[in-house]
Subunit: 189 residues, 2 copies
DNA sequence: CCTGTTCATTGACTTGAGTCAATAAATTCA
DNA sequence: TGAATTTATTGACTCAAGTCAATGAACAGG
């Protein structure tokens, strides 16, 4: 029986059966209802996440206004900045759908590392990957107009457009819902 | 005699004298004239960098137009996406001043890792740190207006404003030089 | 199935950034 | 130093995104 976390790790190194078992066993998962806040502004994240099922959104609340920065879906890890820095989070994490999520803690990750030393080296690769992704996201934001960003999103994550209400997509693209509505009209009519 | 790279690594773990010596010895540095291109679009990065002295800028060339994404200065590491992915770079790296830079290669870094296993674990922390920084940069870009971004830059890196011409700062902020000029006028007059 | 709420669209108007073009200031270097 | 080049400022105009407000569509809960 396959485990999404094992699949994820397999992108970086091949796990032995024993290692697979260790990962599978130590795995702790929970389910959350749509609307559940996984992390609030001002709180210190005690856990990191790996999404098995569902969709999670990160956003800031600036002058009472949502500023969406990311949507996470199946097989994506979420390492809150606050989890790394141990300082209060500046943003929220909220479940956009009913979710099944695997939780990580510093303790359990240390335990896992001691059992699987090979994982330690892999940690850098995973982080490197995520860093490269984050950079590309930033660069894309700088390079493209809102309209181009929307078309890009359609290409790269067409599913998102159906899973998430448009006014949140708009925020994610850095524009107002009315503007997104007009962009769509401009493009398809 | 202190070594900036040793100082940098010391933020993550304390190095023994022996370890310090290894890092210091294996260190390979070069100097570059202002205007030198360290990495071109289309080329695969064979090296990563650590800036000992000077300033390096990364930028895309989109329809013949500069899109500045980052300025790197003293004691900052630069790991080009292309260095990680082994694919052609989409952006340029250029020296904005005469620079002294330490070079890293996969081979020499592997060698270093084998001599200093403790460094491997640290790799993940360094990457984690950089990831957190990159996220905050992105989030700030989403949250703030061009005007606020300029004021923020003044606070966090006042030196940059003197080291780099304004039209490149403008590009970095995601606006045109004329607009930055007007923002400055709005703010200080 | 109806009702209230949330989400999406549209219109009229404002505003801030972009564009084009000219000029001024600052730098470079022969 | 002085001429050439690069960088910064300013003005007049355009245009895309924001704002405010109203209407319509989709959806959830009783």
């Amino acid at each position: 029986m396959s485990n999404p976390i094992v699949d994820f790790l397999s992108k970086y190194i091949d796990l032995t059966q024993e290692e697979t078992d260790i990962v599978t066993n130590q795995d702790m998962m929970r389910s959350y209802k749509k609307g559940t806040i996984l992390l609030s502004e001002g709180k210190i994240a005690k856990e990191c996440f790996f999404i098995l099922q569902g969709c999670v959104m990160s956003y800031y609340l600036v002058d009472g206004e949502f500023k969406v920065t990311e949507f996470f879906t199946e097989s994506q890890p979420i390492t809150p900045v606050s989890y790394t820095t141990k300082k209060p989070s500046e943003y929220f994490l909220e479940c956009m759908e009913d979710c099944i999520i695997s939780l990580g803690t510093p303790e359990r990750s240390a335990e896992l590392m001691s059992k699987l030393p090979r994982l330690a080296a892999m940690g850098a690769s995973i982080m490197e990957d995520q860093l490269a992704n984050q950079r590309m996201k930033y660069d894309e934001f700088i390079k493209l107009s809102p309209e181009d960003r929307y078309q890009n999103l359609q290409k790269t994550s067409p599913d998102l457009l159906n899973r998430v209400p448009q006014y949140l997509i708009a925020s994610y693209l850095g524009i107002k819902p009315e503007t997104l509505s007009r962009i769509r009209k401009r493009l398809y009519s």
